[in-house]
Subunit: 249 residues, 2 copies
């Protein structure tokens, strides 16, 4: 499995992805699921993937091939609007899935992949989009400022409670790390290291990008602080009525 | 859907269940999923259910019928050991599912149910057991001190971080409420009110039982305090390296 989250706040975008892939319990590996395409000052795109790894790697290769080919009818760097980019990636995704499916019609392996695209093009607004296996997509919005793919349930409550459009980029990033960390603790199919990218609105490049592992000092600090704060929060919640009346507290 | 959790700590048991049932999005109702059977001083059992509501209501009726029938070969109040109770409930569950399935072989509705049993019999230890649709069951253990049924993922991280066998009963109960509340906020198929029961080890009765709704004062206090503490926890996590070097914090 996988867990990726893309957050859109007023100050910009936060993208975070785990790196664990598993074909089965005895075939667990580490593969990056975050792919950055940028032309600083002109455009920046971060793509994260869940689902069939061969499909997503084929999609990424196709996107890079089009960038390198000046004769390609379209590429990420030729786009004028972000919706064109989502449509284009959707088409590439559908074409790749169809090509593999044609060869193996009676195989039960799903070749589908789901993607999250975060990015901005000069003159346009930043956005986070979830691209479905059918090639269609939805936007993050002020009411739903984040989108998730993969094992999304464990890490959803913390996002639901914290993330608003006016959350600061760094708080959103800390929240994404807590969301990932909670998922990693509760589900073995999601694992370290974590890839984290921050795109400040208008900077038109990846402002911060880090790969975070167990020995990444600030992550160890955040993990430890979170565990302590959460335990303290539970211990200091208001008492039940019977605790105050019976002195059981 | 449903979300129920049973927690076994040294001091006793905490059982918590939501009350939302849904046959479809336009058939959402409130039904209790927590059922108490007790003979104070002799034995106490709390049963919680997820899955087909008709099946679980049939099981509960059968259990009550056996209690009321002095000639029944076995009943909850005739049991000497808790494993007998789990086996017996498992048999009743399997028999009920089989009976309905026999009548409707080509119907796609699942008549399966999954149960959590918490209880204690005089002279024995308290325990929490998860009874599967096949009638077999597993125990909570010192390493895995809680068991969940239904929509279990949203509320799992908080349990994984907090619950140990030496957690106090009231902290475990607060943690269960936070786990339920997080699930309710993130998934519309789980809803208020919440049924909460606490069984103190050796008391052989339900020590505390409450139905908690939005206007239950201590729950509103816990909810509000939790939201505040969580937000404060995120805001006071350690800074990223670039915040301290660039003064962005």
């Amino acid at each position: 499995m996988t867990y990726c989250v893309g957050i859109h706040v007023d100050a910009g975008l936060v993208l975070a992805a785990d790196t664990r892939t598993s074909a089965s319990f005895d075939d667990v590996r580490t593969h990056g699921k975050m792919h950055v395409f940028e032309k600083p000052g002109e455009c920046v795109f971060v793509l994260m993937s869940a689902g069939n790894l061969a499909t997503t790697q084929a999609v990424i290769s196709a996107l890079r091939r089009d960038i390198e080919n000046p004769d390609a009818p379209f590429s990420l760097f030729k786009a004028k609007r972000l919706y064109e980019v989502a449509d284009y990636i959707g088409r590439v995704l559908v074409a790749n899935q169809a090509q593999v499916n044609k060869k193996a019609q009676h195989n039960s392996v799903s070749v589908e992949a789901t993607l999250i695209l975060g990015g901005q093009i000069a003159g346009g607004e930043a956005a986070v989009r979830l691209i479905y296996p059918l090639g269609n997509w939805i936007n993050a919005s002020p009411e739903t400022p984040y989108l998730q793919i993969g094992e999304s349930k464990y890490g959803k409550p913390i996002l639901d409670r914290i993330i608003d459009r006016d959350t600061s980029l760094e708080d959103a990033a800390r929240c994404a790390l807590v969301s990932l960390d909670s998922t990693i603790r509760s589900n073995v199919s999601v694992g370290l290291p974590i890839d984290l990218a921050i795109i400040r609105d208008g900077e038109l490049r990846v402002s911060q990008q880090v790969r975070i592992d167990e020995d990444t000092e600030f992550f160890a600090d955040i993990r430890e602080a979170w565990a302590e704060k959460l335990a303290a929060a539970v211990h200091t919640l208001p008492p039940f009525p019977w605790e105050t009346t019976t002195g059981n507290a």
